[in-house]
């Protein structure tokens, strides 16, 4: 049977497809990728421009009146919001806008740093497992299988409640110990399948070094997957960091979004209707996660052309 089941496209449909093909000629020119990156860049810009145009000293306790509402709202004491604290103040008199300016980049920093370290470890272990094989492979595979089931939050809860205050960098390093597994597994699987592929055999036959094969021949093919795994790990790391902060375990002296939420819940901000105190940091975190999700969806479409047809 040779008859095709697909209907033959009409001329108009063919033109439409051709237009779409041209527009998405370069798979990296993906709208989701753009929007996601835009949201994250917006947060970075908030951190940078905020430090220039707004007074970061307003994050200190008692730098303004307590529990002031944002501009255009009134709090329970009947005070109206003023431009001095456009997003209101928290229960300790800290300016919410300044908290965001200092806190949001901190969360992003922890996520990116932890994920970068995890990615480095993952690339190293994945290639080692795939190339060396044998015992080494067994150990790395079992270890990553084991570590992927352990929720980082619970080990880190034990750690941080034993050690008390930790710095942001320390927290990133700790989280990195739990985000190397997925890149490791990904790379190992790909290396095992690519090892036998034609172009790698070719490179080997022409005398290329193992190093050259790994990083010049194989790694470029893995870029979309690795990038996807990286973004997913950034999300996991930020979720873990925020989780620790909400349990009151993050850095104690640096303002973070999670810690702000922790203080708001403890002070009963929900019942007192101080929505700006917890709501604005929550909204900003949500924007951050949505940005990361969009990037990840975009990357999926870059690496899996079948998904592109749908959007």
């Amino acid at each position: 049977m040779t008859a095709s089941i697909e209907p033959t496209p009409t001329a108009a449909e063919a033109r439409k497809t051709a237009r779409q093909m041209r527009r998405f000629d370069n798979p990296w020119l993906n709208p989701k990728l753009f929007w996601g990156a835009g949201l994250l860049l917006g947060i970075v810009a908030l951190g940078i421009l905020g430090r220039i145009f707004w007074d970061p000293d307003l994050v200190f306790t008692g730098s303004a009146m307590l529990k002031l509402p944002p501009v255009g709202f009134e709090n329970l004491r009947g005070q109206a919001g003023t431009l001095a604290n456009p997003l209101g103040t928290d229960g300790g008199g800290r300016d919410v806008l300044a908290l965001l300016i200092i806190g949001a980049p901190n969360s992003l920093f922890v996520g990116v740093l932890a994920s970068l370290i995890g990615m480095g470890l993952g690339i190293f272990l994945g290639f080692t497992a795939g190339f060396v094989g044998g015992r080494t492979d067994d150990v790395i595979r079992v270890l990553s299988d084991v570590m992927i089931t352990i929720p980082p939050l619970l080990i880190l809860v034990v750690f941080q409640s034993a050690f008390g205050d930790v710095s942001l960098t320390m927290m990133a390093f700790l989280i990195a110990g739990f985000v190397w597994q997925s890149p490791t597994r990904l790379i190992r699987a790909q290396v095992l399948s690519m090892r036998e592929s034609g172009y790698v055999q070719m490179a080997r036959l022409s005398g290329a070094s193992t190093f050259h094969i790994m990083f010049r021949e194989m790694l470029p093919n893995l870029v979309p997957y690795l990038f996807g795994s990286f973004i997913a790990n950034v999300t996991t790391s930020i979720v873990t960091a925020v989780g620790l902060e909400v349990l009151g375990l993050g850095p104690q002296r640096i303002p973070t979004l999670g810690r702000t939420i922790y203080e708001a819940i403890n002070a009963g901000a929900l019942i007192q209707n101080l929505w700006w105190w917890w709501g604005i940091p929550t909204a900003l975190l949500a924007v951050m996660f949505i940005g990361l999700l969009l990037i990840n969806l975009g990357l999926d479409e870059v690496s899996n052309p079948r998904l592109r047809k749908l959007s």
Binding site: T149, P151, T240, I271, W275, L293, L310
Partner: protein, 338 residues
């Protein structure tokens, strides 16, 4: 229905026991690296309660002996491993002399109940919506509305929990703000109690559901696209089977299997997310127990809770790994374990 070969079972068992062993070891080592002395904390608590403590040196020595802190480290470690495996986590220091295991036993059913409830709801809704996104015959609205709702899925449940709590508990007062059951009802198998539990559990469960269903929907969408192009689907269409029948029996049935393994990888994060949801809702589960223990620096409880949750996660992954080949005859164990 396939049979589970011994080698595969062994492989999974080794992973399970290694997970438990590594988690237990980490939980043991970490507090010992810290300068904080549990006996000191206990004494501090006594001093804070009573104003002053007579014979503090003797009490300190006695406490250290009771906690076994005078033994050589290796002996302490072996004892600890044995105790942990037998679920003997010692006594809580904050609510002394309650054994940690009984605190956990009281909290665990709440956590498990909430988890199973929210998981089942999410699994059904998520997979169905994901399938509908791909299905040609689903209404236009579905194809537009679901991707929009998907935006929520990237948000950790603690944030959605805060939002739901504010809208439905603080503002509208439709649901209670905190707790797992009403103060006026007697715990037991009465209709009042069940009603109260469901009423209190609704918001925590929903805050997990609205942020996790998209994970399933997204995965299902990807799998459905693959299934859609398969020959057997086209054959079923050519045979003139009802579209709805094809959707359920041909497409969803084949696409749903990999979703179950995806779940195994995700369960750790789900559990951690739920712990935080329980904390903000002051739900009587493990999350609240953990949070209270952190506030009180109650190490035996922190360690016990962390261990039990990790054990639960590892067991769930183990079960999924074992069940998966049974429901998908296409999986050959030899290849999985290789």
């Amino acid at each position: 229905m396939g049979q589970i070969p011994a080698s595969y079972l062994m492989n999974r068992l080794v992973t399970l026991s290694l997970t438990v062993f590594i988690a237990a070891t980490l939980i043991w080592i970490i507090p010992r690296l810290s300068p904080v002395d549990p006996a000191d904390i206990m004494l501090g608590r006594m001093a804070a309660g009573a104003g002053s403590v007579a014979n503090s040196e003797e009490i300190l020595a006695q406490l250290r002996a009771n906690f076994g802190l005078d033994d050589p480290l290796i002996l302490q470690y072996l004892k600890y491993l044995w105790n942990t495996l037998t679920f003997n986590f010692g006594l809580s220091t904050a609510s002394f002399p309650t054994p940690v295991s009984s605190l956990i036993a009281a909290a665990l059913p709440w956590t498990l109940g909430l988890m199973i409830l929210s998981l089942v709801i999410t699994f059904v809704i998520g997979n169905l919506l994901g399938a509908l996104m791909v299905w040609e015959r689903s209404p236009k609205l579905v194809k537009v509305a679901i991707p929009a709702a998907m935006v929520f899925t990237s948000i950790p449940p603690i944030l959605s929990g805060l939002l739901l709590m504010w809208i439905f508990s603080a503002k509208l007062r439709w649901f209670p703000l905190t707790g797992a059951y009403g103060l006026t009802v007697e715990p037991g198998w009465s209709w009042d109690f069940v009603q109260s539990v469901l009423y209190h559990g609704f918001l925590p469960a929903m805050s997990i559901v609205i942020v996790t269903f998209g994970f399933w929907a997204l995965g299902m969408r990807g799998l459905m696209i693959t299934v859609q192009g398969e020959d057997y689907t086209k054959l079923a269409e050519a045979k003139g089977l009802k579209p709805r029948y094809i959707l359920y029996k041909y497409m969803i049935r084949n696409a749903i299997l990999p979703q179950i393994t995806a779940f195994a990888l995700k369960i750790g994060l789900l559990v951690a997310g739920q712990v935080l949801v329980e904390r903000i809702f002051a739900y009587n589960g493990m999350g609240k127990l953990l949070y209270d223990a952190i506030l009180d620096q109650d190490f035996p409880v922190i360690q016990g809770v962390s261990f039990v949750i990790i054990l639960m996660t590892a067991l769930a992954v183990f079960v999924v790994d074992l069940v998966y080949p049974l429901i998908d005859p296409r999986i050959r164990h030899e290849r999985v374990s290789a």
